[in-house]
């Protein structure tokens, strides 16, 4: 098993148990809207050790931890432009989501044939 496989399993398992615990908590806030979950709840370590421990750690530390473990994406810009900050050209080229390129003006009259296909 590779390191990537281990990370994938760790992520899948932790997400699952955290989601179950969150469903319990959020469900209690909306008691009229929920039924008893049929999702499997095996794994005492995950439920009784991992979830409470994870919840005690502040989000900022968790985020740093995920970065250290290289669970977050690399080679991606992280800082969004703040609201009200004027537009400026990106440092490394044309962004996908605008920028007033020539291509955008071409597309306004484009026929709709590039509709997403085999994707949802």
């Amino acid at each position: 098993m590779t390191v990537t496989d281990c990370k994938r399993l760790l992520r899948a398992r932790s997400e699952y148990v955290l989601r179950l615990a969150a469903m319990d908590d959020v469900g209690r806030r909306y008691p009229g809207c929920v039924t008893k979950s049929a999702l499997p709840r095996d794994g005492a370590f995950w439920r009784y050790v991992f979830v409470p421990l994870y919840r005690r750690v502040p989000w900022s530390f968790k985020r740093k931890g995920m970065r250290v473990l290289r669970m977050t994406a690399r080679n991606w810009p992280e800082n969004a432009r703040r609201f009200g900050e004027p537009w400026r050209p990106p440092p490394n080229g044309t962004r996908a989501s605008g920028g007033g390129s020539l291509e955008r003006s071409r597309e306004s009259s484009e026929r709709p044939r590039e509709e997403p296909s085999a994707e949802r």
Partner: protein
């Protein structure tokens, strides 16, 4: 000799990559390989064609293969790529080798298959290929009962479509409320009611145990709530990245199982880009990679990959994922995260909630619009939202995702300008109401804190 680009996959990402690449660099020889016989159709419309809201399946076809050929693309339809040799720069399809200088992988997704007895019976249907959907549609005229399995949005759309078609539909979902992986219970409740209004028998908290057959064909679905008779079962579980080729050539895969790309859609191999459901991209809030997004994401990623493969220098942003769909006649939507996901991830948040109307309240057709905003404590920066109601949900979700990406706060929304025109907009914008309510509640809490 001109440079050769091969695009594998004819879905949204693949067609976008190929057409943009050709447009950016007309000298490029662009070849598209797809295992399917069609291109440029909308699979997202399939549930609505089953429900006859879209009268004809043919309405889902938006273009022909010939039009792509006319634009200079070399289209290899019904041609499955079975091997890639990066060192030699060739792909193998139908036992022939085709050379390339650059490669864009858009191999899309596969549906998760249920790991229960009877999953190989006839009569289990997966929604993907339009030709298969057209055959399935013909079967619908002669059957009476369907069970839809899986609490994802496609399950909701398919349940609605089949119920509109007059079938008896059981929809089973093992979560404690409808769409529990995606939405909060307060948003799921009206969505479930809308499905039930169409006649769908929604069974949350119900686990799939197996499929029962007779003569090799499904006759019932076995569940934790008993056996449900049916003529067909529609499986709508998770989308999984189709990484067979990517994995075979040693591309780096990430924690979702998708191909790792950078913000230019470059993979770990030089000269190879990837886009669409086969890749993972970071969520703008957490920077955790995610996969299996929407057709519009696939299309945008394909454009970036294609343009860069053709020599441009484009980048793609981390995603804030505006989403929305119809549950029966009701619309639900949102962006980024809701309460449940925030709780699961341990992300702190404050809530701002409100209800407004989509038009002036006296104008016929005005619908209530429920808005729930999540903001970062302290900065009050928007980090997520869930909405439900009638018209205008989609546009609000798009708007909220966009302004959140740009760092908007509850204060920004509380004092936003809005259109007041009785047929199209009320005096008070529902998002504004929610933000103002949230700020008022926070102010009240601050006052209550003993000094």
């Amino acid at each position: 000799m001109s440079e050769r680009l091969i695009v594998i996959g004819g879905g949204g990402a693949g067609t976008a990559a190929a057409t943009i690449a050709k447009r950016v660099n007309p000298d490029l020889h662009v070849t598209v390989f797809t295992e399917f016989q069609d291109i440029a159709y909308s699979p997202c419309g399939i549930p609505y064609a089953h429900g006859r809201e879209i009268p004809e399946f043919n309405d889902l076809f938006l273009s022909t293969v010939q039009r792509y050929i006319d634009d200079g693309l070399d289209m290899r339809m019904e041609t499955c790529v079975t091997d890639i040799d990066l060192a030699r720069g060739t792909v193998t399809a139908r036992n022939e080798h085709h050379g390339f200088d650059k490669l864009v992988l858009c191999t899309g997704f596969m549906w998760e298959q249920p790991d229960v007895p009877g999953a190989n019976l006839e009569g289990l249907h997966y929604v993907k290929d339009i030709r298969r959907a057209m055959e399935f549609d013909k079967e619908l005229d002669s059957i009476k009962r369907a069970v839809v399995i899986g609490g994802m949005w496609l399950g909701v759309e398919m349940s609605g479509g089949l119920a509109r078609r007059g079938l008896h539909v059981d929809f089973i979902d093992d979560g404690p409320w409808l769409l529990s992986e995606l939405v909060d219970p307060d948003v799921a409740e009206p969505a479930q009611e809308a499905l039930e209004k169409l006649g769908v028998n929604v069974r949350t908290g119900t686990r799939l145990l197996g499929f029962e057959g007779a003569n090799g064909r499904i006759r019932a679905v076995s569940t934790s709530a008993g056996e449900l008779e049916c003529d067909v079962a529609v499986i709508c579980l998770h989308k999984l990245p189709n990484t067979a080729l990517a994995s075979a050539i040693g591309l780096e895969l990430g924690t979702t199982g998708g191909v790792v790309v950078d913000d230019h859609m470059r993979t770990s191999a030089p000269g190879v880009w990837a886009a669409g459901d086969v890749i993972e991209v970071p969520h703008g809030l957490s920077m955790l990679p995610i996969s299996g997004l929407t057709g519009s994401h696939a299309y945008s990623q394909g454009r970036v990959a294609g343009a860069n493969a053709a020599g441009e220098n484009r980048s793609y942003d981390p995603v804030w994922i505006p989403w929305g769909f119809m549950s029966g006649d009701y619309t639900i939507g949102g962006f980024s995260i809701g309460e449940t996901l925030a709780e699961a991830m341990g992300i702190p948040y404050v809530l701002a909630q409100g209800v407004g109307v989509s038009r002036a309240r006296y104008f016929p057709g005005a619908a209530r619009t429920h808005v729930k905003l999540l903001a970062e404590p302290g900065s009050l920066r928007l980090i997520g939202a869930q909405l439900h109601g009638g018209e205008g949900i989609k546009e609000r979700c798009d708007f909220l995702a966009f302004v959140a990406k740009r760092g908007a706060t509850l204060d920004d929304l509380a004092w936003m300008e809005n259109i007041y025109s009785p047929p199209i907009g009320a005096l008070f914008e529902p998002m504004q109401i929610a933000a103002q309510n949230g700020l008022a509640e926070l102010a009240q809490k601050r006052e209550q804190v003993p000094v």
